[in-house]
Symmetry: C2
Subunit: 115 residues, 2 copies
């Protein structure tokens, strides 16, 4: 195994053992274990995905769709467990973004402002 | 410093010291040190970036633009140093993609087929 792969494995293990990841897992399991919360969360994710795909395909998003998305967001934000899950997802995203910034430093330095 | 940050730093160092990265650096420096190659490579990158941005914005790409892009690609592929640089970029991209797959395993497992 290459040094890079060994170091990547060590990093993966430390992410797996981190408070951030384990808090996320607990929040995710809490939502998935609650039938109503799970349905609300799935609706929210599907709505987001649908809008993202339309944006990527350059399809115009109607006023009704924007309204619907806003209502779905408002609903899930008021649900304590889902709101907690979204906060934990945010924390893990930041963790992964920081790692990503660290390991792409050699490329950034090479390509300068372009990378 | 957290264990995660320490492991990310170790991984960053091993990328920086890798043959893949150092071959890329050598290929990049060779192109950047050659005025004609540099100009060809910049043209190629700018053409690609322009088309990508149009695609992302949902702007239709004309037949002339596709032809121009094809010609630019053909030209750079025939340039030995640029072609070498593109191969090394591909190798480093694969390296980074493998790392990325490794460190996002905990998330993939948590979210199952959705992530
Ligand atoms: Ca905690
Ligand atoms: Ca070599």
């Amino acid at each position: 195994m290459s040094t890079i792969q060994e170091n990547a494995n060590a990093l993966e293990q430390s992410i797996r053992n981190s408070e951030e990841f384990n808090d996320l897992k607990a929040a995710y399991d809490a939502v998935m274990g609650d039938e109503i919360a799970k349905k609300m969360f799935d609706d929210f994710r599907n709505t987001q995905l649908e809008l993202q795909q339309k944006q990527m395909q350059g399809i115009e998003i109607t006023e009704e769709e924007v309204d619907k998305a806003r209502k779905v967001v408002e609903t899930v934000q008021q649900h304590e467990q889902i709101s907690k899950l979204m906060d934990q997802e945010q924390r893990v995203n930041e963790l992964i973004n920081n790692i990503s910034r660290t390991i792409t430093k050699p490329l950034e330095e090479l390509y300068g402002a372009e990378a």
